[in-house]
């Protein structure tokens, strides 16, 4: 069902976009691109992957974290995701469950094995650094269409591809950013680059994604993401491996009570 819907959306958007572009406002066109990107990725059902996070400080020191990610696609709401920390050793077994919502604060729980307890994180903040990295949780969480307002800026080459360049302004009140500029390639709607602008409207960070691979002949995922913080000179690299789609995960795997039993 999902699959057929999404395919229709993709085809529709591909056919309609160029013709609509003539009569559209920049805002409409921006939104169309965001919707098309969402449609393109719809129907993956679930995926799992391993993430290696390498932090780099201004003076070149590095530090590594290993995290397993499980994501469940949810229709009409944000996705659910589960992060299980394997390294560093002193947080091994810690697991974070996130129900992301569009404009409402996300629901988040953290299981602390040392305390043997699940704690709910009650915070409006999504913009703090994720595990001390240059990524904010906000940057990693699922990108629901309603999280932003959009504006088409231009088309331009991006590496070997042609890209749409769109501006998106966070609709979430407690976002750490005033706006983002995103580069999406015209063929696969892959987000190849994002520039993040902070509250003083200065360029704060740049994300570049590369080594894209297509899974199940449909879903593009980057093998590498790098986030550079221009203000403090720090950077973080994410390397993704072992992507698996449609592994049969369900709601039951994404419950706060289930966190304790994870391996």
């Amino acid at each position: 069902m999902l699959n057929r819907n999404s395919m229709i959306a993709v085809i529709l958007s591909l056919v309609l976009l160029p013709t609509l572009a003539l009569a559209q406002s920049a805002e409409q066109k921006g939104l169309e691109i965001a919707l098309a990107a969402k449609a393109f990725d719809q129907g993956f059902a679930d995926f799992t992957a391993n993430m290696r996070m390498t932090l780099k400080s201004r003076n070149g020191a590095t530090s590594t974290r290993l995290i397993r990610i499980k994501t469940l696609e949810v229709e009409a709401d944000g996705d659910r995701s589960l992060s299980i920390f394997d390294e560093p050793a002193d947080v091994k077994g810690t697991a974070m469950l996130t129900f992301s919502h569009g404009l409402e604060p996300d629901d988040q729980w953290l299981y602390l094995p040392a305390l043997k307890k699940v704690k709910r994180i009650s915070s409006r903040n999504k913009s703090g650094p994720f595990m001390g990295s240059t990524f904010a949780f906000e940057d990693l969480g699922s990108q629901e269409v309603e999280k932003y307002t959009y504006k088409f800026l231009r088309e331009e080459p991006c590496g070997d591809w042609q890209c749409y360049v769109i501006e998106r302004k966070p609709a979430y009140q407690y976002s750490g950013y005033t706006s983002q500029t995103a580069w999406l390639d015209k063929k696969g709607y892959r987000v190849v680059k994002v520039e993040y602008f902070d509250r003083k409207k200065a360029l704060l960070k740049t994300l570049t994604a590369s080594n894209f691979q297509q899974y199940l002949g449909l879903y593009w995922r980057p093998g590498k993401m790098e986030m550079v913080n221009h203000l403090n000179g720090k950077s973080t690299t994410l390397e993704w491996t072992d992507y698996q789609f449609k592994t049969g995960l369900s709601d039951r795997d994404f419950r706060a009570q289930a966190l304790k039993r994870l391996k």
Binding site: S57, P88, K119, P129, G176, R199, K200
Partner: protein, 765 residues
């Protein structure tokens, strides 16, 4: 030879005047490249060990350049709806500050609490306009008991609060970046005052201090510089007796400044308050050469010579001594290149260039332009030279008593030199005329100071900040530190761990202690980090592999000596109590400034010695006498020693500013000796006079000029003592005192010495 040269100058006077103007203008074009530095780091050479340590620390954690808004509600209570709303408003707007990376205040402080089984992390005062009286009381209670806030963002009695903005200047174009921040901050303050007129606002922090450097120079430029020129015109007009001479000298002063500052621009020197002081030191140096030339010119005309004859005569007898004194003065200033603080190197180089430009103009432009300007002097015996003659007789008659008396006086005064101790206070670099100084003083008396020391405490293992053993050591060190009388606040990660532990146990105060397991700490930290908003993360306290933590101690405003003794005790404590990996030197701007005085004195000692040797060799060669050259050492060295002795009695503390005075004054005081000795030797050799008559001759020909130049110098440096920059005013005061002692030594000590040591030989020696 000098005579031929003088005649040549007078023949081509118009050409020389035009050429001088053209050359000075060409040098002056370099002024367009002059810039004002606004970074306190310029005081430190690139390889200064304390600077390197501090830069490393900042690269590991985060920078701590900052701006602090200090808010003073009129009703004396921070915990009201109105004031907290103002704090929240200012906090929100402060995020727009250019290059800001972090904004901390009472309202956005991330308070952790337990709600049932969950951890709640939220702003301490969220939407403070709507808070009830009991909520306000609760916030007050939390804030006044929170070690992270007290004496940092809230005063212990809750009457003053701060909004602290951390700034990461990219350092790509420092000339633009710092003022950009300050401009924004000041306009934000204006806006704040419009909306909240009942709350006083003061500004402090490193960024504001940086800005105070150029502003202090601008203050000096707009107030002291005109005053100084006025004083000089007055002095000149009185002594040189004539509008022409005064005008010509004034032009030379301006040309020397233009030339030297222009050359500084061509060489790419960036201005700082110390190096900018060159603009006020050059005139005092430039004026001396002209005075010598003009006074002999006037004296010759008074004897009945015509203009041309008089000028040729003056150039003939002044060429060598004026050249010599310029070179020795330049060497004295160039000795500042040994200084550890680059601004003083720049000062030395700029003044040295100015001195040489002034010399060149005094023997080209000055005689040429004087021939073009009108000027008549009546033939007469002046009263002042009669006075000089009487003074010479007094010195000659009492020579033995003078030698004994002066010798004794010198010994007594010099015995007070060791009473000086090395000490400085770096906020006091700025006088109270500067707003930053007043605001910083207020902040340090009521809230928190600029005096901080950072320690990077390393566990030696990845994730070691969660290790209970390491945490215990950090806690012990923090406790020890907080117990020191100089310390008002210690910001340390263990307080965060204790707070988290308490919140994880239902806010039970008995759990306000360090977690006992490493995993527990690490997982608390992970949980806490997930809950923090943008810009309030722990990157400023924990390095990326979580192996080390930064502890920041905030100190009362204090002198460098106290800072160094505290750091010494801290290092001893670390050595006695914790593993080697934790034993790192404290680093911070105040540590840097505390060390630079001593480093500078050591390096300047070498510089001054080199200058002394060079100057003595030049004197021996120029005066063609080893004996006279060696005798000259006494009046050259004694003034600085006497000045430090007097300083030891009156003040007793020397710092960065005074470490350069000896080298600098050496070149100046030598001038008096050179002029006196060259006239003395001329009398001995050319006129075959004995020592007594030669002393008489020297007093008559050069005595008055020496008094005039000394008065000019003392007046010039006296004006500079009113500088808004304390380093300059102390330096000027000390230099002025040294010059007074120099003229006393040259008039009362040198002649008796000459008569005692040189008198027994034949006149044709």
């Amino acid at each position: 030879m000098a005579k031929k040269y003088a005649e040549w100058v007078i023949r081509y006077k118009i050409f020389i005047v035009i050429l001088s103007i053209v050359v000075v203008m060409m040098m002056g074009f370099g002024a367009q490249y002059l810039t004002f530095t606004n970074d306190y780091r310029v005081f430190f050479g690139e390889d200064n060990p304390q600077l390197v340590a501090f830069e490393n620390l900042q690269d590991t954690y985060s920078k701590n350049d900052n701006v602090m808004f200090v808010l003073v509600p009129e009703d004396g209570d921070v915990f009201t709806n109105q004031t907290l709303e103002a704090v929240a408003w200012l906090t929100e707007r402060s995020w727009e500050t250019p290059y800001s990376s972090r904004v901390e205040s009472l309202t956005n402080y991330q308070h952790t609490s337990a709600v049932e089984d969950d951890l709640l992390v939220e702003d301490l005062a969220f939407e403070p306009g709507d808070l009830s009286a009991s909520e306000l009381a609760r916030i007050r209670d939390i804030a006044l008991n929170e070690p992270v806030l007290i004496n940092r963002l809230i005063s212990p009695i809750g009457h003053v609060t701060g909004v602290n903005i951390t700034i990461e200047l990219p350092g790509i174009d420092p000339i633009v970046e710092n003022p950009e921040v300050v401009e924004f901050i000041r306009s934000l303050r204006e806006e704040f005052r419009q909306i909240y007129p009942d709350i006083g606002v003061k500004l402090t922090g490193i960024i504001m201090m940086n800005q105070a450097f150029p502003e202090a120079s601008q203050y000096d430029m707009s107030t002291l510089f005109p005053l100084m020129l006025l004083v000089f015109v007055g002095v000149l007009f009185f002594w040189v007796k004539g509008l022409s001479g005064t005008f010509a000298t004034f032009v030379i002063i301006i040309f020397s400044i233009v030339g030297a500052m222009g050359l500084a621009g061509w060489f790419g020197i960036a201005l700082t308050p110390p190096s900018f002081a060159a603009i006020m030191i050059i005139p005092t140096m430039a004026i001396a050469d002209s005075v010598h030339v003009l006074m002999n010119y006037v004296l010759a005309m008074q004897r009945g010579e015509d203009k041309h004859e008089a000028m040729v005569d003056s150039i003939r007898i002044n060429m060598q001594p004026v050249f010599l004194t310029s070179v020795t003065t330049a060497i004295g200033f160039l000795s500042m290149n040994f200084s550890d603080a680059p601004p003083f190197r720049d000062l030395g180089n700029i003044v040295a260039m100015g001195v040489m430009v002034a010399f060149a103009l005094s023997v080209t432009f000055l005689p040429a332009v004087m021939m073009l300007l009108p000027g008549k002097v009546k033939v007469r015996e002046t009263t002042s030279s009669q006075a000089m003659g009487r003074f010479a007789e007094f010195v000659i008659a009492r020579r033995s008593k003078l030698l004994l008396g002066m010798g004794l006086a010198c010994i007594v005064l010099i015995s007070f030199v060791p009473k000086n101790e090395l000490n400085d206070d770096f906020v006091k670099y700025f006088s109270e005329k500067i707003e930053f100084r007043r605001d910083a003083d207020f902040a340090s008396e009521n809230l928190s100071g600029l005096y901080m020391i950072d320690y990077s405490l390393e566990s030696g293992l990845d994730g070691g900040v969660s290790d209970p053993g390491f945490q215990k050591n950090v806690e012990k060190f923090a406790d020890w530190y907080l117990g020191q009388p100089e310390v008002i606040n210690v910001n340390v990660i263990t307080d965060t761990f204790k707070r988290l532990n308490r919140s994880m146990h239902g806010d039970d105060q008995s759990w306000y202690k360090l977690p006992e397991e490493r995993e527990l700490s690490a997982q608390y930290l992970l949980l806490y980090e997930m809950s923090l908003p943008y810009g309030l993360d722990l990157n400023n306290q924990i390095n990326i592999d979580k192996s080390a933590t930064r502890m920041t101690a905030m100190l009362r405003n204090m002198t460098t000596k106290t800072v160094l003794s505290l750091e010494l005790r801290a290092q001893k404590w670390l050595k006695d109590n914790v593993p080697v990996s934790m034993q790192n030197a404290g680093a911070s701007p105040i540590i840097m400034f505390s060390n630079i005085g001593e480093r500078n004195i050591k390096s300047m000692l070498l510089g001054t010695s080199v200058a002394l040797v060079l100057i003595s060799i030049i004197l021996i060669i120029a005066l063609k006498s080893v004996k006279i050259g060696l005798i000259s050492l006494i009046p050259n060295l004694i003034p600085a020693a006497l000045a430090f002795g007097a300083w030891g009695i009156a003040v007793g503390q020397i710092g960065l500013a005074l470490s350069i005075v000896t080298g600098m004054t050496l070149g100046i005081v030598v001038d008096d000796t050179v002029h006196f000795l060259s006239k003395y030797l001329r009398a001995r050799r050319e006129k075959g006079l004995d020592a007594q008559d030669a002393v008489r001759y020297a007093f008559n020909t050069v005595g008055l000029a020496l008094i005039v130049t000394s008065v000019v110098l003392i007046a010039g440096f006296f004006v500079l003592t009113f500088s808004a920059f304390q380093l300059n005013s102390n330096m000027a005061l000390m230099t002025g005192v040294t010059i007074i002692f120099a003229i006393v030594a040259d008039f009362l000590l040198l002649p008796p010495l000459l008569m005692a040591l040189d008198g027994k030989e034949q006149a044709n020696a």
